[in-house]
Symmetry: C2
Subunit: 121 residues, 2 copies
DNA sequence: CGGTATCCAATGTGATACTG
DNA sequence: CAGTATCACATTGGATACCG
């Protein structure tokens, strides 16, 4: 008799939802790079990031940062200088992303190796 | 004197690339769910998946599966029955995704809790 | 059963110019 | 400096019908 497979266990479902939440807040071409730079180098200004990701359109960078801010992963601080400067930094939630991202990054590195090996066979 | 910040260390860069590789092969609305179902329930036929993800268009499911197959995360096996049946299953690389996905899922779960708490404050 | 073909709307990304 | 406004273009996801 065939096992009934209509539904995954609650734990699995929760985990899948968690992954998709993460995928969601990390969607977009630049968010992971932004988070990484903030993590490894600390707070950055808008222009710092513009220069770092050479070629990124300001509109796009602006949107990525707004998304991250809305999702409570980065903070935006206006410094009352002239002209004004704005600093972006990670929240605790943003910093806590480092551990799972390292895990995923390690997978990606070994995945890439295994694919390259396939292609030389 | 300010620290020179032009470049992240090689290890960081590699890790970021790894994360982005992963993000790349997991892009799309259904890939993570497909991988999860295959992981927790074993091989599935096209129609199984169509039913599981109620409402998914066959064109879309077909594309997701093709992407996964091209990236060596799933296998596609044609059974010579009449009419033909096709089974999809995870490759070892696909299975190896489970560990980092669990890590990311755990983050997502605690992230969701922390956001919900913020909203009730 | 396991797809493809066609058409469509929404979204994402980018180039460029401009503003307070 | 830190963005916004506008236009253009590619990609994504979906509805529906059809095919071998």
């Amino acid at each position: 008799m065939r096992k009934d497979h209509k539904q995954l266990s609650d734990h699995c479902q929760q985990c899948i939802t968690g992954v998709m939440d993460a995928q969601d807040v990390l969607s977009g071409k630049w968010k992971i790079q932004i988070i990484s730079v903030l993590y490894y180098e600390g707070k950055q200004r808008f222009m710092d990031l513009t220069r770092r990701f050479e070629g990124i359109a300001p509109k796009v960078l602006s949107k990525e940062l707004k998304d991250l801010e809305l999702n409570h992963l980065v903070t935006r601080t206006v410094l009352e200088t002239t002209p004004v400067m704005v600093e972006y930094d990670l929240t605790p939630e943003g910093k806590s992303l480092n551990a799972p991202l390292e895990a995923l990054g390690a997978w990606g590195i070994s995945y890439r190796k295994s694919i390259m090996k396939k292609n030389t066979d």
